[in-house]
Amino acid sequence: MTDSFRSGIEIAHLNKSFGNKLVVEDLTFEARPGEITGLLGRNGAGKSTTLRILTGLLTADSGSALINGESYSKHKPGSIGVLLGAGFPGGRKAIDQLKITALAYGVKQQRVEEVVEILELAKVIDTRTSKLSQGMKQRLGIGCAILADPDVLIFDEPVNGLDPDGIFWLHNYLREEADRGKTILISSHYLNDMERYVDRVLIIQRQLLLNEKWDESKVGTLVSVFNEVTKGLTID
């Protein structure tokens, strides 16, 4: 742990390019404990790249991406819940996916059963993931992410494929976890959905364009805010 320890997620002067293409440019923002922070941007704006740098899957060209003051690799496995798409090996059963995650995170069988119940996965638990619907895969991905009851949640497009019940459950879950003081960073394209539960909105297009506290009084305006902020900007 460094002297400049701060809790939450801290992205500072982050730069990342693929070949000649600059994807993230001097990006700086924070996601604070107790808040649900929504990361918004168009396709190719650098959202997923930022989340992948944050979780150690990509290396930044420069800058820092820290979680509770440290890089992802310094944290105990499972203490950060990550959902980066719901791709699983098609030949693996849902239960095995959860059990592998439990083994990696040192989580007991009882917690696996709890998560199966919470996410209503019991009916498909012995099904291979290739046969699961997109929504069920998403539930499984969320289940793996929350298995070790992490302090920080980093979700990329969590409502993809979820049915209305699933979305409703997710909203409530995220609110409860934020109220427990957890740090939550969500990336999504679904503006109408996101404006209902986020506490802070970040709009990026390589760089940070907007960082604004969000509350119920602003519900219904995120689309216009987004359009206004990103007006005239193009993706390379």
Binding site: L57, S64, S73, L84, G85, I100, Y105, S130
Partner: protein, 511 residues
């Protein structure tokens, strides 16, 4: 103008160039190389009277590889994300079948006919010589079209099931073993034996009658299958589920118990073990191993050489190591699909930890595989009534077991190159061609080919050293070979460790 006319003609004949591009062609190239190399090898073995009765001609080998190639590639189209776009593109199932059949037939005809013409020009004494007549060529192409039609239909129905994985190696094993071992008229009882009336028609009239008969039969079967597609698919799926069901309680399975035991000693290795062994695609890999890994043994006919185990076992050890390179280049990239690899990786602290655990696990798997193959060879030799010298058998067994990790490391060095994963098998092909075709065909050089050196390490001579009448390599060469291998692997390890340290420093500087 010409381009437009060609495009119109291709559409009329239902040919889709996209099937002929990229990875598909590379995959077939591998098959063609196998055919060419194996025909030469069989002819060489025959000329030297090493084996009793090699019977597989170029035409029949190429038909087999056309069939297995179709099964292997068409079944992949049914992996969820591909099938719908392909179906939308073609509109109807009939169009899809026909386009696949005609495109594949055209590709194989072009490649194999060209080879047949080339081989007809070489002297009769050459192992590659083919007797070319118009009748033979027409009969061969008719057989090719029929066998591809059969392959396409079977592949569409079997899809990516266990049976689809099992069928190609089964056909190859039957063709090369039954066709090779039994004498006299046994040929007709092999898979390609079904097409003998086309391949060996006595007259033009016979050939025309055969084409008519086979064409009618093929059309009838294809029509029936297309008409009853849904019903057959449903039945096949139900049977597949029932027949090839794995344990429904994975928590109690041996693989889970092993995973937990390994995890207690080595966390990352245990996680990776669990990731691989709970994936039914991995559990199907033994079939791929059989296909790729054991195929060289069967094709080389080493099990049929009437020679003592001192000759057989070192050759088997060398072939096994060669096939392990293939396996290590192909299997991990099959399993580590880009779509889900991040979810596998996220369970590890870093990418390097994941990669190290993956490599170590494949080293262990391939070592066990090498040992198993040599043990099987010893067992088969014993069952066939040969005297088994267990003390001698230890040496090839040890060579196969201990060299496997080095070759896996080589493979992983290649796997980390920034190239399209579809090109990884090309490296295996290059190695195969370099070892089996180039080095082993040059007098006085063949003794230094990797397969020869490995066989020497295992206490005997390589197959090509025997064929070329060359002596094995002396102890200093073997030591030099080993030292070089260890040096290269150690160098790779050092580079990787440096990269690990650098990443750590990078992570620290970020924090």
């Amino acid at each position: 103008m010409i381009k437009e006319r060609v495009s119109t003609a291709l559409k009329f004949f239902r040919v889709d160039w996209s099937y002929l591009s990229g990875g598909y062609f590379i995959f077939q190239l591998q098959m063609v190389l196998y055919v060419v190399v194996d025909v030469g090898l069989l002819a060489g073995l025959n000329a030297l009277k090493v084996i009793a009765n090699p019977t597989i001609t170029f035409e029949r080998m190429s038909l087999i590889f056309a069939f297995t190639g179709v099964i292997a590639t068409v079944t992949q189209e049914f992996k969820g994300q591909y099938t719908d776009p392909i179906q939308l593109l073609f509109g109807t199932w009939r169009n899809r079948y026909l386009t696949r059949i005609f495109t594949t037939s055209l590709l194989f005809s072009l490649v194999f006919d060209l080879l047949i013409v080339l081989f007809s020009r070489v002297g009769e004494s050459s192992p590659f010589h083919v007797n070319l007549t118009l009748k033979n060529l027409v009969g061969y192409n008719a057989a090719l079209l029929l066998i591809i039609t059969l392959g396409v239909y079977l592949a569409f129905f079997l899809k990516a099931t266990f049976l689809a994985n099992f069928l190609p190696p089964l056909v190859i094993v039957l063709e090369t073993s039954v066709g090779g071992i039994t004498k006299g008229a046994s040929n007709k009882w092999t898979f390609t034996g079904l097409f003998l009336p086309l391949l060996r028609a006595q007259s033009t009239l016979h050939l025309l009658a055969a084409i008519l008969l086979y064409g009618l039969a093929g059309f009838t079967i294809a029509s029936l299958l297309t008409r009853n597609r849904t019903r057959i698919e449903d039945k096949l799926n139900i049977q597949t589920d029932r027949k090839f069901r794995f344990r429904s309680t994975p928590g109690d399975s041996i693989s889970w118990r092993m995973a937990r035991a390994i995890e207690r000693r080595n966390h990352n290795l245990g996680i990776r073990f669990a990731q691989l062994f709970t994936n039914v695609q991995f559990l199907r890999l033994p079939i791929l191993f059989l296909w790729i890994g054991v195929l060289p043994l069967i094709n080389n006919k080493v099990l049929q050489i009437h020679a003592p185990e001192r000759i057989i076992l070192p050759i088997i050890a060398a072939s096994t190591i060669q096939s392990i390179l293939f396996i290590a280049l192909i299997s991990p990239s099959i399993l580590e699909n880009k779509e889900f690899i991040e979810n596998e990786l996220i369970l590890f602290k870093s990418k390097d930890a994941f990669r190290a655990a993956t490599e170590r696990l494949w080293q262990i798997i391939c070592s066990a595989w090498g040992l198993l193959i040599v043990a099987l060879a010893v067992l088969i030799y014993g069952v066939r009534g040969g005297h088994v010298d267990y003390l001698f058998s230890l040496r090839p067994a040890l060579v196969a077991t201990l060299l496997a990790p080095i070759f896996v490391s080589f493979a992983f060095v290649i796997l980390r190159l920034p190239v399209d994963p579809r090109f990884f098998p090309v490296f295996a092909i290059v190695y195969y061609v370099l070892d089996s075709v180039i080095l082993n065909s040059i007098p006085h050089v063949s003794r230094y080919a990797p397969s020869g050196l490995i066989a020497n390490l295992a206490g005997g001579r390589g197959l090509y050293q025997i064929l070329m009448g060359e002596s094995g390599v002396s102890a200093p060469w073997i030591v030099a070979f080993l030292a070089l291998a260890v040096f290269v692997v150690a160098g790779v390890r050092r580079v990787r460790e440096r990269s690990l340290v650098r990443n750590e420093l990078e992570a620290s500087s970020l924090s």
